[in-house]
Structure formats: C-alpha cells, structure tokens
C-alpha cells in the first residue's frame, strides 16, 4: 500500500514538473535559452490564482485568468529581455534570466508580503477512496487530469494543425520556415504565451495543493525544471514528459528509502549526472 501511495505522490509531483518544464522546453527548443525566469511566471500564476479565487470564488475562472495574464507577461518578457540578446553567447541570456528571476522574487515579497497568501475558502478539499484504504485528494486528481488534458491538446495542436506545423518548422529551421511564409515572429510570441500559460496552471495547482503561495515558491522549480529538460534531452517534448515522471517517482521513493543519505535535490541531480555520463544528449535527445 505504501508503494502505491508513493507511486501516486510521484505521479502528482511529476505532472506538476511536466507542466512547468514543458514551457521551458518550448523556449529552449526554439531559442536555445535556459529560461530560469520561467519559474517566476509559475509563482505569478499562483498569486493570480489565489487572488482571483478569493475575489470571485471560482477556481476555473482563476485558472483562466492566470493563464492569460501570465501568458502575456511571458511574451513581454521575451520582447523586452530575450529578443535583444539572441545574437549574444547563451550564458548572457542565462544570467539575464537569473537576474530577472531574483528581481521577480523580490517584487513578489515587496508587493504581497513575505508570508504569502492562502485561499480563503480552499476549493476541492477532501478526497475519495480509489481502493480500500487508499485515498486520493480531489486536488491531486485535478492535477493529474488537467495535465493529461492539457498535454493531449498540445500534442494534437503540434501534430495535426497548421499552427503546429509552422511551430515545428520554425524549431527545425527558422530561415527555411520564413522562406515558406511562416511568420516566425508570431510563432515565437505564441511559444512564449503557451509556455508561460502552462507554468501559470502549474502555479495555481501547486497553490491549491499547499493552500499557500509565497514569494519563494519558484525557487525549487527554477533549477529543478532545468534539470528535467536536460535530463529529457534539451528541446525534446517527449523526453521532458518522461523525465518529469521519472524524477517525480524517483524523488518520491528516494526520500523515503535513501533520504538519510541524500536530500531530495541531491537525489534528483545525482540521478541527472549519472544519466548524462552514459547518455550525454539526455534520455530522448538527439546529437
């Protein structure tokens, strides 16, 4: 029974990792930027989620509002911060991104206070019994269902629509895509919008599971998501999903069984280093 519980914990955590890391992979696949400030968008999503829920009482509305606002902020971030740096060496954008992330964390602290916010009437409390003696919280179920839903829609869009084709064309070869009439600028905006919106959903969901948003809630995702996209093979969407799930489950089991030797982060990064030594291109990456 413990195994099943740990497995489910791992899958819930993995789903959240997937939602966060996917946006990062989208950005990396298109622009080759390690977008640390993505985690700040995740936190922003959490704040908007809690504030809108408290004002209107509707979680669905909160998720929608968070997606739209954070998506737009993501596009603005690309326009103001990254676009001018695309021709520079990659670590310039990386440091700029880290600086943005730190600044955002400070702004959250200054604007919303250091102790964070909670839901006044936390939605989706309680849970249901899957099999005798094993409960799943409604919140956790929502995380898994929403992740599957969003990722399938995304998979469908990228595989079967005109939009998806132009996106994939831009990733493979921007110049060629432009020559064939794809507006690569729009693809980049859309890319940042979708990636940031996904981070916002993850932020609202994490806020729901913990019933708390705080200025520092993005600090673990900021580096963990980088580890995940590298583990999956930079820019590979399927790799990112696989890596998210593996890491979620490994952390969930690892903290119980070898937690006295290594903490959660060390476990994740230890696994990452071992994998990279055998597969330097990541799990599903190509050279």
């Amino acid at each position: 029974m413990l195994y099943l519980e740990l497995l489910f914990q791992g899958i819930v955590q993995g789903s959240i990792y997937a939602l966060i890391a996917l946006g990062l992979t989208l950005v990396y696949g298109l622009l080759r930027i390690l977008h640390v400030a993505h985690a700040a968008l995740f936190t922003l999503g959490g704040y908007i989620g809690v504030i809108v829920t408290n004002q209107t009482g509707s979680l669905a509305l909160a998720i929608l509002a968070a997606m739209i606002v954070v998506g737009l902020v993501g596009v603005a971030m690309y326009k103001l911060a990254y676009e001018p740096l695309l021709s520079k060496p990659p670590f310039i954008a990386l440091i700029a991104s880290i600086a943005l992330f730190i600044a955002a964390e400070e702004l959250f602290r200054i604007i919303f206070g250091p102790y964070g916010l909670s839901y006044e009437n936390p939605p989706l409390q309680g849970g249901f019994e899957i099999i005798s003696g094993f409960f799943l919280k409604y919140g956790e179920a929502l995380v898994i269902i929403l992740s599957i839903l969003i990722l399938s829609v995304l998979g469908w869009v990228s595989g079967y629509t005109r939009l998806g084709v132009s996106w994939r064309a831009t990733v493979t070869d921007p110049d060629m895509a432009r020559a064939f009439g794809v507006n690569t600028q729009h693809v980049r905006y859309l890319n940042f919008f979708i990636g940031s919106a996904l981070a916002a959903v993850a932020g609202v969901l994490v806020a729901l599971l913990n019933n708390l948003v705080e200025p520092t809630m993005g600090s673990v995702p900021s580096y963990k998501a980088l580890a995940i996209i590298v583990l999956g093979g930079l820019g590979s969407i399927r790799g990112t999903l696989l890596a998210s799930m593996i890491l979620g489950v490994i952390e969930s089991f690892g903290t119980i069984y070898i937690g006295h030797l290594l903490d959660r982060d060390a476990l994740a990064f230890g696994f990452l280093i071992v994998v990279l030594m055998f597969r330097p291109q990541g799990l599903l990456g190509t050279r």
């Binding site: 670590f91 600086a99 990064f269």
Partner: protein
Amino acid sequence: MAYEITLLTTMAISVLFALSLNFITGFCGQISLGHAAFMGVGAYTAATMMKASISLLFVIPVAAVFAGVLGLLVGFASLRVRHDFLAITTMGVVFLFVGVVRQQEFLGGEIGISGIQQSVLGRTGFMLLCVVLAGVFAGFSLLVKRSWLGFVFDSIADNEDVSQVLGIDVAKYKLFAFVVGTATAGTAGALYAQHYRFVGPDSFGFVESISVLAMVVVGGIGSVWGVMFAAAVLSVLPLLIQFVDDYKILVYSALLFSMMRFSPDGLAGIVQRLLNRVRNR
C-alpha cells in the same frame, strides 16, 4: 580600522574566487554553475583541520588539493557533456555537494562548523595573506593569458572541434583549466573558513555559484582586470547600498540585468569602447 580590514579581506577572497572561475569559464570557455561547491570543499576541509588545531599555512594547500581532485572529476565530466549540458551538470554538482554535506554528522550537518580559532597571523597578517594570494593568482592569470597557453584556451573556448583538428589535445587543457580553477577555489574556501570562522551548507550553494558567475560576467568574461574590479565591488556592494535596505537584492538584480541587457561584454567591454572612442578622436 578593524572594519576596513574585514572589508579588504572579504574583497580579496572574492577576487581570488572569481578569478578561479574566470580561469575555467573566461579562459577555457567551460561554463560552470556550481563553482561554489569547490570553495565549499576547500572550506570544509580547512574547517575540519583547523578545528584539530592544524596551522593555516599547512591547511591551505591541503584544501586546494581536495578541491582540485573533485575538480578533476568534474573536468572528466566536461569531456562527456558540453555547453548547456555542462552548465546543468555543474549545477548538479553543487546540489549534490550541499545535499551530501547536510547529512554528514562529522561535518556538522545542517548547523555547520563554528568556533574555528583565529590563526597566528592575526587579522592584519591574514588580510595581507589574502591580498597576496589574490595578487599572485591575478599575476598568474595575466601571464597565462599572454602566453601560448592563453592562445590554446582561446582556441578551445572558440571551437573545440576545430582545436582538436589543429592538433591541440583539448582534453588535457580542459582538465588543466578545471584543476587549476577548482584548486584555487579550494584555496579561497580555506581563506573563507578562516575569515568567517564558520562554514555551513548554505554558504556554498547554487546562489553563491550564481553570484560568482555574475562577478565574472559583469567584469567581462576572460578579462582579468575587469573580473578583479567586479569581484571587489560586487562582494561589498550589499554593504555599500545598505541605504536602500529592503530593496537591496532588487537593486542588485536590476543592476545585473541591465548589465547583461545593455553591455553583455561587461565592464571590460565598456572600458574598451570608451578607449576606442578616445583613440578615434
């Protein structure tokens, strides 16, 4: 006077630490997001030995060797993974380091090691030692930069594959850069342990690794003078901008961002452009 001595010691240790990363990232072009781990290895080695009343002058070389050995291991990793993959691998190293140290009773666990006794040098003597060590390594860096070795590093930083074709033993020079850089970081760590007389797992984490990388990038990657200046200023900047109090970190990150956004080649780049303008007049 005591305050100035403390300030100068802090600056000298930061300069040495930043120059050690500059050797790897600036000269050889190998990015590291986990450089604080090597300072940590040096600091913990030194702290444990100094608690056993071993003299500082003997402790420093041992700390350098310990950090250098770990650096050699990570150097081997750099032969397997490149660019962004290397960045994340080195980031992994710092999380592993902190994770392991936290769980070790003999290293003080979460609490760290405190109560390290002052060395026989006294505060002023210790400050001089820090300044001299930083100066010696700065001189060494300048020498390397102008020698054939500097050209080899330039070539590797620019394009590893081409360097290999030109007959440069890329692996050897990368390992050399890693060992020298990390051993120097270990030295800085030993000085850190003596300066603060305390080491804890939170002193050598990811944030510290980013701060030192920020020093190198703000100074101007590869520029010895730029990095020295940036490290000296940035290490005491939080003390200098005390007046903005609650907005300290916000100001710091805004400065860092503006630097990257408007002058990605750092202070050295700004100085270079100004010089060019004067010359062309």
